[in-house]
Symmetry: C2
Subunit: 205 residues, 2 copies
């Protein structure tokens, strides 16, 4: 495919596409933290200033690679505003409000793509860790050694909720009122965030 | 594609394939309960006795359509053997033992397929409800009106676990020891099975 140029808009569509393609490779192969704007610019054959011109910050460039129109950084303060003990409930409510909104279509498409494409799976993994989970967990005053497991458990329940509600569409989860799901899932997410993760002594057998 | 006949094995491969194709349509369109062996045989252009000859029971035919080599009915008694209060922990342990085993490859393939294919998604939904969740929940002495939500919630956490461990491969869930995940997830599954699903009065705002 070749990019078409209309000559009407500033910038060249193929430059933007080249930057995006290089960014996808960099974020998937090296991870969000290790990928640099400079290296992405070099791979795309452009000046780093052009990357900033087209996409702004590294976070914004990353969101463009996964085609997510939502900035988690704008939503997360509300999740944390009522203190650690309500973060679980607020996270479920915020998650549902995004996925139930028109922007949710992009999230469902990303989830479908992650399942069939290893690179997209890596991008989703990086997005979950660096843009969502880490930003919540770093505010909760927890043992740093526990954060990766807590984050992955939160992710497992929320991704599972998305699978059931939007992909497999298992009733009554598929069409339940958001508050029904908030009530059912909030204690789960709260425990994964701040509660005990090890069980009482296991039963014999 | 045409089926090849070797002449070595009893039965004709194309008959078996025709029955399987008809069964996939019937289970996806009508659901497991409403689909009948008789209607599947008619759609495949064979005698119902041939369906039983090739596949045995309706359950076995259904498992063949989703290519799952495991019979949940054989595993579930162990989940329930220690009573309702340990069903959550035992269900997580059994789930992981199946998905971590060689048979887990078929389950991951089915999950991937369900995400990209609406018919497979319907078959997975039917499989979850009729072959797994219903068989557990009917032994737990619960309010029948709550069973669908409880089942779907259990499914959401287990599917999410499978997504994180086997598809998106988010660490440390991807390579955690099974017992670490059992300890973390058992209280969740137990509450979805037998605990309260509605929250304390919601906070204002």
């Amino acid at each position: 495919m070749t990019a078409r140029r209309t000559g009407r808009r500033p910038g060249r569509p193929d430059t933007r596409a080249a930057i995006l393609a290089a960014a996808r490779v960099a974020f998937a192969e090296r991870g969000f933290d290790a990928a640099s704007i400079r290296a992405i610019a070099t791979a795309a054959g452009v000046d780093p200033a052009l990357v900033h011109h087209y996409f702004g910050s590294k976070e914004e460039l990353f969101r463009a690679t996964v085609a997510i129109p939502i900035d988690p950084a704008e939503l997360l303060p509300a999740v944390l505003a009522a203190g650690p003990d309500e973060a679980g409930e607020r996270l479920v409510r915020t998650f549902l409000s995004v996925w139930d909104s028109p922007a949710g279509g992009a999230a469902v498409a990303l989830l479908r793509s992650a399942v069939s494409n290893e690179w997209t799976a890596r991008l989703v993994r990086e997005f979950l860790i660096t843009q969502v989970l880490r930003r919540i967990l770093e505010h909760l005053d927890l043992d740093p050694a526990e954060l990766p497991l807590r984050g992955a458990l939160v992710g497992s329940q929320l991704i599972g909720l998305a699978m059931m509600r939007y992909v497999i569409r298992l009733e009554p989860v598929a069409s339940a009122a958001p508050e029904t799901l908030v009530a059912a899932l909030a204690p789960t997410i709260q425990r994964y965030l701040t509660g005990p993760l090890t069980a009482a002594p296991p039963p014999k057998g």
